[in-house]
Every structure is written in structure tokens, then in C-alpha cells.
Symmetry: C2
Subunit: 413 residues, 2 copies
Amino acid sequence: MALLKSWIDSANSATTSFPLNNLPYGVFSVEGGPLRCGTAIGDQILDLTALEHNGVLRADADRDVLSGSDWNAFMALGAEVWGQYRAALTDLLVDGSEAQDTLAAFLVPADHATLHMPITVAEYTDFYAGKHHATNVGTMFRGAENALPPNWLHIPIGYNGRASSVVVSGTDIRRPWGQLKGPNDETPRFGPSQRFDIELEMGAIVGQPSNGPIGVDQADANIFGYVLLNDWSARDIQAWEYQPLGPFQAKATATSISPWIVTKAALEPFRCDTPEREKELLPHLRDTGPMLYDLPLSVTLNGETIARTNYKDMYYSAAQQLAHHTTSGCPMRVGDLLGSGTISGPEKENRGSLLELSWGGKEPLDTASGPRSFIEDGDTLALHGAAQGDGYTIGFGDCIGTVLPAHDDPFKG
Amino acid sequence: MALLKSWIDSANSATTSFPLNNLPYGVFSVEGGPLRCGTAIGDQILDLTALEHNGVLRADADRDVLSGSDWNAFMALGAEVWGQYRAALTDLLVDGSEAQDTLAAFLVPADHATLHMPITVAEYTDFYAGKHHATNVGTMFRGAENALPPNWLHIPIGYNGRASSVVVSGTDIRRPWGQLKGPNDETPRFGPSQRFDIELEMGAIVGQPSNGPIGVDQADANIFGYVLLNDWSARDIQAWEYQPLGPFQAKATATSISPWIVTKAALEPFRCDTPEREKELLPHLRDTGPMLYDLPLSVTLNGETIARTNYKDMYYSAAQQLAHHTTSGCPMRVGDLLGSGTISGPEKENRGSLLELSWGGKEPLDTASGPRSFIEDGDTLALHGAAQGDGYTIGFGDCIGTVLPAHDDPFKG
């Protein structure tokens, strides 16, 4: 697929993340004004709440669904509406459209806007579906022979995360306190995490509800779109707390997502197969077509690239994860967010966490900001994603966060 | 504290769970009509949505908060309003009240009403804070010497559950399918759970938000009330999936709660201390007063009592669990539900799960319905709770569910 030309010049630039082919969905405000739903087009944001209000473009004839605070009501309308709306929006913005004069009043320069959470997160689930990551972490903790848990090649392992802690890119992240106990400590103590880390992930957004087991095809159909996701992780808190019921406070400080939801439609040209299975999956978890995406990803620390990887290196797709999530009859809701798990590739420079990049702190990373085993106070970490089309790029907006020093002891007067 | 006499005779009966001392909050409907907020008083339900609408009793002068679908907006008003509202409600219902004639029109016989979810669950967290339960389960899985994980006496271990699966008492529970692999199976298979179980728990409802670490005192103040909670658990699914990230689909089929929220105020006379600490807790997790409750609990299987225990046997209080939950900065919201963990006592008959009662299936329970290791299709399980005051009883309404046979293979035709 080639670049779709728009009458908005900046959307045709070779460097934009937001050509007409993208049309990602987000929520923005201007100078403290009310929240509005919008789409990024070149260096502009088109105010879709205003278009709905003025009757220029409506997703539902009878009811406002873009009243501003999130995209949940729009998602609930279902895939047919998603497609119709995108097609109509494309018609309005395509080069030669007669809507140019009408729409000019509804465009806001992106650099005048503040971006907010694009969805209300119903619940947040985080998976562990990257084989390189699971192997790296398993090797560090259990040795190379027992790196992968026995169930790992049979089910996409996941745990429930904490939806209340999901924040939009740009939100500062406060280093957490937690209960810590090193292998040589006699007793635990309460202190700020010393091994605070990132996890480079993709987040899949569930756009349709289900109330019982669904297959991988239906799961793929129920996914609305994708965001970049950084699952901030306190490795030292996790090491002490996670047996036997999994990570809890180690992952509850914050999870950042990119401000723009890139729809499945925009990512369609980049679909690719999951890697070859090492063990055959049970029938209900087999993918029935290409359900991963060829999406180059990178991590920067204070502006310097420290890792490059690709979403296509995951072992399980989001559709497989969602299908597994429903096997027990677990009801899924509009706005559920599924983290892919850390995306690492086969080489050292493809590792999506500092835990892996510094091999548990044993091989500190040499960066322009100095050696890094884990995050230091003041560090700014950013995730980037850019699918490369034929003459265009599909981006998400960066997923960025700066780590602030821990508070003083929160329990001292 | 003695029985508070009401002008509603049935509330003064020795056998009611709903004397004037209780005033639990729930949501009901009559003959398919709209949802209403109400309180149980004797064998009646007082329609509090109607009282608000008619101006007889309002929690907020300017805004309706009991419009019917849940108690969340009421909870958000805070502890001062909780106290004022309860005092005003008590005045209306106390023996000798002049409101008797006014209120008569707003009473509904409880047996004409259908009960619904009393709150919208924001997020659901389940703990593992019963020492007898953890010791029993640990002994079965790891042997008596390693029964308790090393962190267990230092933090209330918990994991995030699935809010979408929380249902009100009376909802039928469908036996789940899941990926299963016994210790002697070569490969996993997908089938209905054969070891489906209950967990007798209390649920604490968070009524005030927090956005950073809070101490145990504040945590106790933020709890609105308690419900009975049955965390339905598929032991065979859990055994295969739970390493390394904890329970996921094994606990996602359903969690049932009792229809009535018993407020902290009603439970105040039953406060008691947590058991003696075996290891001193870090200062921020120490309770500062009696924060458990002397609350006798029981489980019936098809009407026959199979276990009796007491909430006071827990090692950690809900306040300690909530305080721990916030240590990382995790934001808590109005409507968060915290499961206590399975409540077992020291003796065999005090065990709050079939896993423990049948010792993993090795010692099937002899019941009037036949021998039971785990739940059989058609079994009705119910949790009961009744705090014994001086001449009165505080109850929750039963927490009941009947297990339906698994569907045919959900992924076949």
C-alpha cells in the first residue's frame, strides 16, 4: 500500500508518523479546555468531537459517542462502524476532498494540544509472551537449562495488572517504595526500589465485549487497535513478593501508554505470522492467519537509543492471548488492555528491559548519561514504534516518562 | 451493644439477620422494574432511592447519589456522610419514630425483591492472608517444612483478580474449561475442570480513593464495609498455569459476593485483634488497634454444613492488606474489592475450601450428597456469616451459587 495523499501537506511529509494511512485515535485538550476526541493528521489534530457535534461526521446518527473523555463508547459500536467511520474520515481528508474548507476550522496544531488517556481502561492484563525475554529472565533466575517454565510453550502466560495505574505518555513516574529483601539480608526492609526498570511492550485494546470462550479469529476481530506500552517494574520488590502468586506491587506504580491508538486497519499492511511453533499448540490457541505485526520498536534513555527490536519477534499474538484469556469463561469488556509482555529480540541490542540489557546489573550499559544497570532518578525513558510502509510511516506518538526521586518515607509524619 | 428496637416487628425477631443494628446496603428490583438502592430491615427492604427522590432522606442535598445502579456515588461522599446517613436512617426506623406512616409506602417485602450487585467493582484484588489456609495448601504442595513461603509472615501476599467476573449471590456458575496437565500427562489437553472448588472469604469494599501510600489507620478509615465472598477456583487449571506469574484463568470464571454490604459501623461491636505476630511486621504494616472482626462463618453444600470457621482467625486484616496495596503508589478507587483470602481455622472442620477439606482429594468428604473431593455438577454451595451481638445477629444474606455442567467443547462447531 502506498501513501494516501491528503490535502493537509504535513501529512504527506516523508517524516510524519501520521499520514492519512494512519488516522490514530486519541484524546486532547487545548489550553486547559475540555477533553476532545481527535485524530492526528500530519502536524495537526482534527477535532472529532466538534465534527460529531456539528453533524459533519457522526459515528452514530442518534447518540453522541465522542463526547470527549474517551473512545470507549465509539469502540462499543463494533467493527462495522469502525470501518465506516474510518472510510468517511479518509474521504474528508484525502487530497481533492471538498470538505477542506469546512474542516479547516476543526484543525488544531498538534504542538498546541495536550494529550490525555485515549481510553478508560476497564481492566489491564499483562502477558509474558516474548520468548527471548522469557528465556533471558529465566536464564538469569533459574539457569539456561530451566529457562522456560514447562507451560510456556503451551499457553500465553499472563497475570492481571492494575488498571488504576495506567497513565498516558508524558506522565512523570515516581520511584516506588516497597518491601525489599536481598538474598543475603536477614530480614526485609521498607525502602525505595533500587532496581526500577522499563518493559517495552505493545498494548492491545479490546473493543468488543465477550462473555464466554472465543476463538483466535473472533479475538482478533474484537481487538480495536494497539498502543505502545511501558510496564514500569521494580525488580527488587518483585523478587521478594512474587512467589507464589505473581507480581503485585512491583508492577502497580505505573504503566504508561502512547497517546494514540493505532487501529488494526492502519496496521493491516504490516501483518505477519508468529514464529514457528516449537511445540504444537492445542487447536483453540492456533493462529489462523498472520496476527502479529512487523513493527520496528526502540527504546531511548535520555534521548540515546539503547535497544531496537520488533513486535514480530513475539511468540504469541494479542489475538492468541485474548482467546486464552476467555477460556475459563472470563468476561471481557470494552476498554480491556492487554500488554504483550516484554518484546526482546535474539541479539543483545534487541532487549526490551534494562534487566536484560545489563544482565541483572552484572554488565552495566555504557550510555552517554553514564553506566546504567537500572533507572536513575531524572532519567527519561521513551518507547518508539514506526511501521514502515511504501513511502510512509505509521507511528503511535512516543511513550515517554521521566522518573522522579522517591518521596521521603511515606509513613514518617 | 444491645438490640436497637425498630417499629418494624420483624427486625426485632431473634432470628433475623437484619435488625436495626445492621442496616446493610444493597441493590434490588421488583418484578423486572428498575434497580433501586435499599437497606434490609427485618423481612422488608426499604427503598432508599425512593426516599432520596421524595426528599425524605438525602445523602447529598444537591445531587442524587442513589439513582439505583450501585452504591459507588454514595461511597464517594466519604465517611462523614456515611455516618450522618446511617444516623438519620436509624432515626427513621427506630421504635417510636414519627416517620412510620411516611415510610410504610417505601417498604417492599424482601421475598418479592430480586437482589443485584450492590457496587460496581472498580478492581478486584484477592489476598492469601489466612495462615491456616496457606499452611494447609503449602503442606500439600511443598511439604510441612516449607509450607509457608518466606515472605508470608512479612507481607499480606495478594494478586490482582478479575473484576468483570464478580457476580452477585444467586448467579449460577458454569464449570470452566481450561488447559490441564496432570503430573503424569505427557502433554496438556483442553477440558472441563475436574477440581472445581470454593474459597470462603470476606470481601472488603474500598469506599474512598487514595493516590499514594497510606497507613493502616487510613486504610481502615477508607473501607466502607464487608461482604461474603466465594472465589470459585479451578485447582487443576491453576496447578498448570500458575508458575511463574500466579493464578489467572483458574480464578477468572466467577467470584460471588453476598448481596448486602454490611458497613463498618454495623460491625464495630465485633472488632478484634489479629492473632499474635510470629515475626514482627515492619512498622507501616502493624495494626494500631483491633482491625479484624469476630464473625462466625460457615459453608453449606446442598444445605448441609461442611465447614465452620471465623474471620478473626485471619493473620492479616483488610486494613493491613489495603495499606500494603498502596505501598508502591498504586492508586485505589471507590469500589475496589479486596478478597481476604481463604478463611480456615486450626481444625479440620474449620477449612474454607474443598481442597483442604478433602486434603487434595485424598480424603473425600462424606456428605449426604455422597462423597465429595471437589464440586460436582448441580451442587449448590453457600457461604453464611452471622456476627452474634447481645440479643441480635448481623448477617450478610447468603452467598450462594449452583454449579452447572460445563458447556460442550466451546471451540467445536
